[in-house]
Each structure stands twice: as C-alpha cells, then as structure tokens.
C-alpha cells in the first residue's frame, strides 16, 4: 500500500499516545488538538526522533519502525524552522540532496530550483538570520521537499508568523502541498489553518483520536467540546425521542431538553450556532422555539460581535449578539435573562 499506514504508540511517564493514522499519497491530513494532546509527539515518533512503544509505522510498504531517522524518507518542517545558521539558504536546501549522495554542483542546482519554486530565487546566498519569518518558513519547506520525502511532516508551520504574513504563507503552503506527491501530515491548533490546508482532519485529545473527517463535516458535526469550541458551536450530548409529526425532543445529559426537527432516535449530539441564540429581558412568545431562563456568566468582545456566556441550569451555552443588543439588554455578569433557539436552528446527529 502506498502512503502512510500507522498506529503511533508512544509512552512517556503517565502520558500514553495511541493514534491510528492513514495518509494516502497526495493527501494532506491535519492533526488538530489542544496543547499537550500529543500531536507533536506523534510527528516526532513518525520521524524517528522519539522511540515508539508498539504500534506500527509503514510508509509506501516499508516498515519504518526499525529504521533510524536518516533512513526513513520522512521530511519535517519544524515550528521554528531550525535552518542551519552556519549555512546559506541555498546550502540549507542542498543539505538533503547532498546527504543522499548527490554531487555538490547538482545538489546546489536542485536547491536553486526549489528556492525558485518557493519564490526566493534571489535569496540563495542569505544566511538564515537575514531572512524574515515568512522567508525562513519557505526555505524550511524547500529544504524538506528537496530531500524528496515520502512523508512530509509539518509541525505548526504557521505558528511563528505574524497575522499578515500568515495569510500569504498559508496560501503559498497550500499550493506547495497540492503539488506534493507524497503523504503530508501537519500539526496545528488553529482550526482555520487546518480547514484551509487539509483534505482531512484528525482530532487528538489526550493521546487519543476523538474525531476525524473532511473539514466541512467536522465543522458541522463536532463530537467533543474541544472541537465544538474550535468551530464555534454549542454542543450537547443527549437522548432523542421522536414525537408526532417527525419533530423530536433531546433530553440533554446535563439536564434540560431542547426541541428539534428531523431527529434520529437514541444517543445523539445536538449543535447550534451562538448566532442563532436570541436573548430577551422578558419571556418571549410567538413562534415555536426553545426558551429557557438562564444567567449571564461573562460578556466578551469577539471581533465586531459580542459573545455572551450563559451559565446553567439547565445547561451552559454561548450566544452571539451585537454590541447594540448588549447595551439594550443591559447585559452584565450575573444578570438573569431569557434565551431562545428555534428548533429549526438546531442540528442533531447520532452520537
């Protein structure tokens, strides 16, 4: 089988990582997870920089487990790039080909081609410290790709960049990843980077896989609180009962219940967007919807909108309103408030 087929198992003290990973050639998979989930450890294990405990690592039909890092054909772009400070940009990129036995002149020619491809044709003679963050990132990418890896690992490739360069570098990185024939695996904790760059997301929490799928699907149907927060949805787990006329009610595990339309039966997740939550000072009436009385826990600015955290009982939720609404409703911590969500705004899927 081509591509990567692995179960990455690493043990370190009380922390245990056990992660099934399959990446097809040409595919880009993003490992997403909170800090300390084991994402970077998984990459280092694949590169051979930390020992694995069991599991299996197979790349293009070759068992990687017994091989040292230098014989794995696994390239890595490090978060802080780690360009060799004593070598020029060109010699950094030529390092991989040279190690594979290419003659100096041929390796330099190849390196120049790669620098050209990442848009740094004139910067071959520059030392790493003379490069900007975005340029260094591109040299690091060219250096990894010039070694012709079967698997490319990218550890938080955009984390060290400021917001403006990040946009440009992300777009460029997307192009280069699209042109890369091998399997690519990138680690990030930024959902936007993951959505833009990856064909598939693998979400890791505490060393385990908790969700995987194409970005649109993960964004629409989060399965853990972490993913829900990441994609900005309110998420509840509960038990659904179908009523007459196909509508349903979900009894939420933490207490309370929410009405839905087109619900499956049994254990489900229920998600709705903070923007679909309406806040009222007095009990609203009118169209059929979920209405509950709650309390304001915190008010936070979020771009040009305001996020209002609502505490339980019956359950915690986040509402997103305009600054004008905050003033009008006089929202402040501890204030009792009515919240409402239309049944049609909820999204229910099997757990």
């Amino acid at each position: 089988m081509r591509g990567l087929d692995a179960r990455v198992a690493v043990r370190r003290g009380t922390f245990a990582l056990d992660l099934p990973l399959a990446v097809a050639p040409g595919e880009v998979v993003a490992l997403l997870g909170p800090n300390g989930a084991g994402k970077s450890t998984a990459l280092r294990a694949l590169a051979g920089l930390v020992p694995t405990a069991g599991g299996h690592l197979v790349l293009d039909g070759t068992d990687l487990a017994p091989l040292p890092p230098e014989r794995r054909r696994v390239g890595m772009v490090f978060q802080d790039y780690l360009l060799f400070p004593h070598l020029s940009a060109l010699d950094n990129v030529a390092f991989g080909p040279r190690c594979q036995g290419m003659r100096r002149r041929a390796a330099r020619r190849l390196a120049a081609e790669w620098l050209d491809r990442v848009g740094l044709a004139g910067h071959g003679a520059a030392r790493p410290r003379e490069l900007s963050g975005g340029q260094a990132q591109r040299v690091a990418l060219a250096r990894a790709l010039a070694a012709a890896p079967g698997l490319l690992l990218l550890d938080e490739p955009l984390a060290a960049l400021d917001a403006r360069t990040r946009l440009d570098v992300r777009a460029a990185l997307r192009r280069h990843l699209a042109g890369f024939a091998g399997a690519a695996l990138l680690v990030t904790h930024d959902p936007l980077d993951a959505m833009v760059l990856a064909d598939r997301l693998v979400v890791v929490e505490d060393g385990r896989l908790v969700q995987e799928g194409v970005p649109a699907d993960v964004a629409r149907r989060p399965r853990t609180d972490y993913v829900a927060r990441l994609v900005g949805l309110n998420l509840y787990r509960g038990r659904a009962r179908r009523g007459k006329d196909g509508a349903g009610t979900v009894a939420i595990a933490d207490g309370g219940s929410l009405d839905t339309v087109d619900s499956p039966e049994g254990e489900v997740f229920l998600a709705f967007s903070p923007a679909s939550v309406g806040l009222y000072r007095t009990r609203p009436d009118g169209s059929p919807r979920n209405i509950w009385r709650t309390r304001v826990d915190a008010v936070e600015r979020h771009g040009d909108r305001v996020r209002v955290r609502l505490s339980g009982p019956p359950f915690a939720a986040v509402a997103e309103v305009t600054p004008a609404a905050v003033a009008e409703l006089d929202l402040s911590e501890g204030r009792p408030i009515w919240a409402a969500v239309k049944a049609t705004e909820t999204h229910v899927y099997p757990a």
Binding site: G48, L49, E70, L82, F84, H86, C99, A147
Partner: protein, 263 residues
C-alpha cells in the same frame, strides 16, 4: 538608574585596590627591569630561540592531541546519557586542580620505562616517552585537556540539539551530522577552548619537568628555561618571561574577540 551614584564603601575599595596592585605590580616590575637596550640581541640567542621554538611546537602538538581526544570526549559527556556521567566529568576536571607535578609523577608511573604501560611500549616497540619531546607533548596535553573539554562541552550543551534532529530528518547519518552540523555550531566554543588549552600547555612547568626533564633543545620549554636561567643569567630569565607575558596578552586579545566579546 536615577543618575546618582552610590559611593562605594572604603572598607571594600581599599582591599580591592590592594588586590589589583598585587596582580599588576609584579608584571610592571618585569617591564621596568627588562634589559630593553639588549633585548634584540638576547632574543636572537640560539638557546632562547630554541626554547621558544620547542615551546610553540609542543604546545601546538599538545593542543592538536587535546582536540583529537577532547572533542569526542566533550561530545560524549554532552550528548550520551549514561550512568556515572557526573563522575566522569569530575575525573576529567581532576588535572585542573591537581598540582601539575603530581600529574608528572603519575605519568612517569604509567608511561615511564618501568611503568604499567610504558614498560610494554618499550619492550614491544622500543618506544620510550619520558624525557623526550613526545613526553613534553603528553605532559602538556594531560594538564591542558580539561580546559578544552569543559569549553567544548559547554558549547555543546548550549547548542540547540534539534538542529541535529533536523539534519537527521534530511537524511544525514550520525557522522555527517557531527561533521556538518554539530562541529560548525560549536566552532566558537572549540576555538576558545583551543586557545585556552594552548596557553595552558605553553605555560606548563611541573608535569613537564617531572615527566620529561629539562634537556635543552629536546624537552627544555620556555618556562623551564626561565627557571634555570634565573640561577645563571637573571637578565635572560626576564627576557624569556617577557615573551611569555606577550603571548599571554595575545591570547587574552584572541579570546576577547572570539569568545568573551561576543557572548
């Protein structure tokens, strides 16, 4: 910070000044008493030149030997986790605090004609080390190597070892990583260590005279020549001392540029 300077207390300033004078005055005395008018002819005397040449050659060879053995030793201490690494590091620094004459005695006991290893070298290959120029190199290397090892090990510890990991993911084997990444990264540390090591070897006296004796042209280095000249020809001792002082100043200047100045 606020611009007003705190007046330093006299009880500290007086001994501080006395300490400075104590360090500087003898050197000033050396300069004052130097036979400046005859300096040129005295420097050109064959036995001065001979001692100088021998000192430069043996110190350089000793530094080479220290580099050859000391850099891998420093790398092992810095990079290979093993039980007893603290003990080994302590052993490496023993020659730093050991009286050099004891080092010379120890070398004689091991590498002397009747020594543990020296006896076999003599019997098997006809090689004798004590009282030869090679013996001088060994004695100097024994005393000077800790300076190199400590300096290089410090540089290795300070260097980010993830560069080595990055090199490995690019297909570089252990040896290539060492040559093309590790060594260039710690080059300033190696240079500083070499200068210190060379300076220490150049000034070596106790271990050299014990293990190699003092034969003009063969084992009589500058410090030995200074000591012997002091009894027969004090003026010559001053001239030789001036040369060593000049070398020491040069070494300091070299270290300032490469090491202390850039840190």
């Amino acid at each position: 910070m606020n611009g007003t300077r705190v007046r330093p207390p006299l009880i500290l300033m007086v001994p501080a000044m006395a300490g400075l004078a104590f360090l500087v005055l003898p050197l000033a005395g050396l300069l004052v008493r130097a036979p400046w008018s005859t300096l040129g002819t005295r420097l050109a005397e064959p036995h001065v030149l001979e001692a100088l040449r021998l000192s430069l050659v043996t110190a350089t060879l000793a530094t080479g030997l220290c580099l050859l053995l000391g850099v891998p030793l420093a790398w092992t201490l810095a990079r290979v986790p093993f039980r007893g690494v603290r003990l080994v590091r302590a052993l490496v620094t023993v020659p730093l605090v050991l009286p050099p004459v004891v080092g010379g005695v120890a070398l004689l006991l091991v590498l002397g004609r009747r020594g543990l290893v020296g006896g076999r070298l003599d019997a098997a290959f006809g090689i004798t080390l004590p009282f030869t120029t090679a013996g001088v190199v060994l004695a100097e290397a024994f005393v000077a190597m800790p300076f190199l090892v400590i300096s290089v090990e410090g540089a290795l510890r300070a260097a980010d070892h993830r560069y080595e990991e990055a090199a490995a993911t690019l297909g570089a084997g252990r040896w290539t990583v060492f040559l093309r990444v590790t060594l260039p990264l710690v080059a300033p540390g190696i240079a500083a260590g070499s200068v210190l090591c060379w300076a220490r070897a150049l000034g070596e006296f106790g271990a050299t005279i014990t293990f190699a004796g003092s034969f003009p042209g063969r084992t009589q280095t500058m410090p030995l020549a200074v000591y012997l000249a002091l009894e027969t020809d004090p003026q010559a001792a001053i001239v030789l001392s001036l040369i060593l002082l000049a070398v020491a100043v040069l070494v300091l200047a070299a270290l300032r540029g490469r090491w202390t100045g850039t840190s």
